[in-house]
């Protein structure tokens, strides 16, 4: 399992940049690519060589969507990540903008500066800024679904429904059989 933005190497610079709000769309993009490269070489490729399954909580597609939404050249970001291993299966959990905003607000935590896209100066209001930014990110994802053949899971429903759908997609891909009863038991 590997998570976005978690390599020790890049953490210091990302933290400095975020604290001072001094990251530009380009340095934001490049720092995340550095983080990705670090994790790819240390956490992704070795388990793949050992024949294991790597679950990646976000992958290069997050960068494609987010960086393009910030105005970075689409082709350049794709070329940048051409060192990445193409995933055997990429699943996109899709929600409409209203749902993602509501969920985020329900967390009752303050939106972070970059998360809300406030570096772009579209709005000084974090929620308004988030809506504009997230709208652009979702548009980019729609392009990606087609371009890279992402499997789409409707993420509006309950977690159980989503997990059922997700397992179905994964099972089909891995050609394993799993019954709904197993899932219901685990989620109970």
């Amino acid at each position: 399992m590997t998570e976005w933005n978690s390599s020790a190497l890049v953490k210091a610079a990302t933290k400095t940049g975020k604290k001072k709000n001094s990251l530009t769309p380009m340095t934001f993009s490049l720092l995340h690519a550095t983080d990705f490269a670090d994790r790819l070489l240390y956490n992704v490729i070795p388990p793949l060589k050992a024949g294991m399954i790597v679950l990646a909580d976000r992958y290069a597609y997050t960068a494609f969507a987010r960086d393009a939404a910030r105005g970075v050249d689409r082709r350049w970001v794709r070329e940048l990540y051409s060192f990445a291993v193409k995933p055997d299966l990429a699943v996109y959990f899709r929600v409409p903008i209203e749902v993602s905003t509501d969920r985020l607000l329900a967390r009752r935590v303050k939106l972070k500066f970059y998360e809300a896209g406030m570096d772009m100066g579209w709005s000084t209001n974090a929620i308004e800024s988030f809506k504009v930014f997230q709208g652009k990110v979702l548009d980019e994802y729609d392009r990606l679904v087609e371009e890279f053949g992402l499997s789409v899971v409707n993420a509006v429903g309950s977690i159980t429904e989503q997990q059922r759908m997700f397992r179905k997609v994964v099972s089909q891909h891995l050609q394993i059989e799993e019954t709904d009863e197993q899932l219901d038991e685990q989620l109970a």
Binding site: L9, M26, L30, L41, R70, G71, V72, W76, R78, F83
Partner: protein, 260 residues
């Protein structure tokens, strides 16, 4: 991971106009028509770049040009991280390349582009070519490297201070000695730092030479005396600026020395 098979320009400055982006550039930062100039001094460690840049700066400022300097790994954002990564030897070639690119992007957006817009001369102590040479000898894909730096601006002048392996070794030993990275010890060419330095610098010099045509380097013999090289730099830069002064107003009205 790219789904497109389209080929980007290979970054060669042959067809790229000085002062414009090598590749697609930074879409949100159009730079067309910015009056400033980028003058890059390239060359391996120990060829005397910083001395030459210091002298050039004085000379240019006396003539009334606004000058800023920028140099490798000097960005506020990345310098601590790069130092840390170097100290702990955790860099692999890919993260090495990407950290440097981030450093360059930070300086490009925050120092170089604003200076170009304001009509300054940017003296760059190494440019993207050092990164390309170092990546090249480490086996990083050349096309990928050129695409990566597609956001860089083609300099107006690139001077390459060329030196031979033997002279370089003597100079480095006389000054500060050989260090881990300059000797390419990360490439595991051998345990002997002298042999490693030699092999590494030799391949670096080969990389620079192979880029000379592609990126239009003006090659200067770095074995000559400091003032001889400086005279040559001034002659070529002077000629270039005289030509561009007629098209853009780079120079401030009064010489810098007479200003308060």
């Amino acid at each position: 991971m790219s789904s497109s098979t389209s080929n980007l320009p290979d970054g060669g400055s042959g067809g790229i106009r000085a002062g414009s982006y090598y590749g697609n550039g930074i879409p949100y930062l159009p730079i067309d028509g910015y009056p400033g100039k980028i003058i890059a001094i390239e060359g391996t460690d120990g060829v005397g770049r910083s001395t030459q840049i210091r002298l050039l700066r004085e000379w240019l400022e006396v003539q009334g040009y606004g000058v800023i300097e920028t140099g490798w790994t000097r960005s506020e954002l990345m310098q601590p991280t790069i130092e840390l990564a170097k100290a702990s030897n955790t860099l692999n070639k890919l993260t090495f390349v990407l950290l440097y690119a981030t450093d360059f992007a930070d300086r490009l957006e925050k120092e170089i582009i604003p200076a170009l817009k304001a009509g300054f001369i940017v003296l760059s102590d190494r440019y993207i070519f050092t990164a390309m040479a170092r990546a090249g000898v480490r086996g990083v894909d050349r096309t990928w490297m050129r695409n990566l730096y597609g956001f860089a601006i083609a300099p107006h002048l690139v001077f390459y201070l060329k030196i031979d392996e033997k002279t370089l070794i003597r100079r480095v030993l006389q000054s500060r000695g050989m260090d881990y990275w300059e000797s390419g010890m990360d490439m595991k060419l051998g345990d002997d730092i002298y042999e490693s330095f030699r092999a590494y610098q030799r391949s670096l010099l080969r990389e620079y030479t192979s880029m000379a045509d592609e990126f239009g380097f003006r090659v200067l013999d770095a074995r000559r005396k400091i003032d001889v090289i400086q005279d040559e730099l001034r002659r070529q830069i002077g000629a270039f600026l005289a030509e561009s002064d007629t098209t853009s107003a780079l120079r401030v009205d009064e010489p810098a020395l007479t200003r308060p």
